[in-house]
Symmetry: C2
């Protein structure tokens, strides 16, 4: 196994990018954390703290903040991507030559709006010579920076590279499991937000714990069904990037997607909810992309279909649940 | 498909047996609910209420309570088992001839202490000519009796019988999915209690949401690994009897097993905790049975091993978590 990377750059100084830089520093590296926000970089440089996204939490002193994207991309062979999925193309695109033969560890979830591309597909277009891996799993940034334990899935096509990156990140509190299933990890990370909306609706409708567990489980089952048609391994969905992340999203502190679902379950209109949330939750877009996949592949996804109906066709949450319960009786694994 | 059963008897008038009788009545049947407790039967007959286990909740008037086990077993072709697993042999054994060629729908979870038998194996000894199915999934009895929706897995070797029982129980709020994986459903139902203890420890140690999601996910992964060696289908663990029930157990109202784990995580001694709980949680026994299986089959189950160490060998919860995090780095699916 090759030794670790000389320098690693984390692109994106939001809460999760910052947490990953902190993890890398704790594992003995001196990561560069790039962000556009000068105030964030200055707070990291002067006080070892991301005052905007992780206020009050001390970062490892070996984290170096930077606002120079070219330098950050030039200096490192391993580039961690941690910016919003819809910005990946515009941030990395202009500097594509700097990604030549690099190792990209993507930690951003979601699907690019428009052509409905997974992040690996976006990078395959921008940087076809780079080696792409995806890191995903149950991980609130705050807990990671506090030094609480976490375990995630790291997927990439080359076992050797995956092991190298696994060793680079791992510590006594941050544990990575390798996988070769990039598609499965990406689909799980993106589509969990649709299930989070459905889970929120069940809360809003006050349908109880049994219904909550059922919608989470059957939601993941249909994501696995879609994933299989897209080339994923079904057992990936039983893993940290699948079940693990979904359980965290649906039972941990309220996410934007669950809040959206809950408000719809309480009978509020979509426009009212979006005003309250101050914008659109990511699951709103993912539901559209996934519906188009499901339709073109002929995959039955009843929970997705009902969430789509509520978001785009004005179905009421109560009617949606009722039609889910009244479907023809099925086998569990189809 | 055959029409439904003329009479169905539910053996066991605890909260779950009562809820199942209520479900059957709601689906148009006139179930006999057998229990030893005369006060319970009388409260059902006089007030349509199980005053002991589900006080304050109205049961469907078509539920008939009985204290006559022979009559209950004689009258029905379909027998629902809902008594504690350790009592199955002593309750049914003396009346084994009455189970000849019957259909048994078992809803009790756990492993028989001693020979470490699954419930299907116990019934195979008592009633070898009966057709055995197992019903399992996320289901608090109270919510079911309140009419809130629930979805469960029903597993049995014959598709025809499974569909018949599925149709018998199903309604607009109670939805069964069929499966042929009896072993997987039984293993999932029994071993979830070990993961519930581990999940409670993580709470007691205040390790956060990430660690909670990780222990639940990796716990289920190792149960699936054991299950596979015992003949189960790995994808069963992604289903309602696997992930669904585990999520409910680990995130719903505190169960005895989670309380046990939490108290151990807080540093209390096992004997203190057992005094507080007023008895032993089921996961305590299951951990022993599962450890012996894992050892004889050579299956690596690190979370089980640590739970066993805490329960039987005096390991501290903190040391257990620490050794889980310091294991060799792994692939996610082995």
């Amino acid at each position: 196994l090759k030794t670790s990377f000389e320098t690693i750059s984390v692109i994106g100084s939001g809460s999760w990018g910052t947490a990953l830089a902190h993890v890398l520093a704790g594992a003995g590296h001196r990561p560069i954390l790039w962000g556009r926000d000068v105030a964030v970089s200055e707070s990291i440089a002067s006080a070892h703290e991301n005052s905007k996204y992780l206020p009050g939490l001390k970062l490892h002193p070996s984290v170096t903040a930077s606002n120079d994207l070219v330098a950050a991309l030039e200096k490192s062979q391993c580039i961690v991507c941690s910016i919003p999925t819809q910005q990946i193309r515009s941030v990395f695109g202009p500097f594509a030559p700097l990604l030549k033969n690099k190792i990209i560890v993507n930690s951003s979830k979601g699907i690019e709006i428009g052509a409905h591309l997974r992040v690996s597909e976006v990078f395959a277009q921008i940087a076809p010579t780079a080696e792409y891996l995806v890191l995903s799993g149950p991980s609130f940034a705050e807990e990671v920076v506090k030094g609480l334990p976490a375990a995630l899935t790291l997927a990439g096509p080359s076992t050797e590279t995956a092991k190298r990156v696994q060793n680079t990140f791992s510590s006594a509190v941050f544990r990575l499991y390798t996988s070769s299933d990039v598609v499965g990890v990406e689909i799980a990370g993106a589509l969990k937000n649709v299930v989070a909306i459905a889970s929120g609706m069940v809360s809003g409708l006050k349908l109880g714990h049994n219904a909550q567990a059922a919608v989470i489980t059957r939601g993941l089952a249909e994501i696995a069904r879609l994933g299989k048609c897209l080339g994923a391994q079904p057992l990936t969905f039983l893993g940290l990037a699948g079940m693990g992340d979904l359980v965290l999203t649906c039972t941990g502190p309220l996410s934007r997607n669950r809040r959206l679902g809950e408000a719809l379950g309480l009978g509020k209109s979509l426009s009212t909810v979006q005003k309250e949330l101050g914008g659109v939750a990511e699951g709103y877009f993912t539901a559209k992309a996934a519906s188009s996949w499901a339709q073109s592949l002929g995959v039955e996804m009843p929970i997705l279909r009902e969430v789509y109906g509520i978001l785009y066709e004005g179905t009421s949450a109560r009617d949606a649940v009722s039609s889910l319960m009244r479907r023809n009786l099925k086998e569990e694994i189809e």
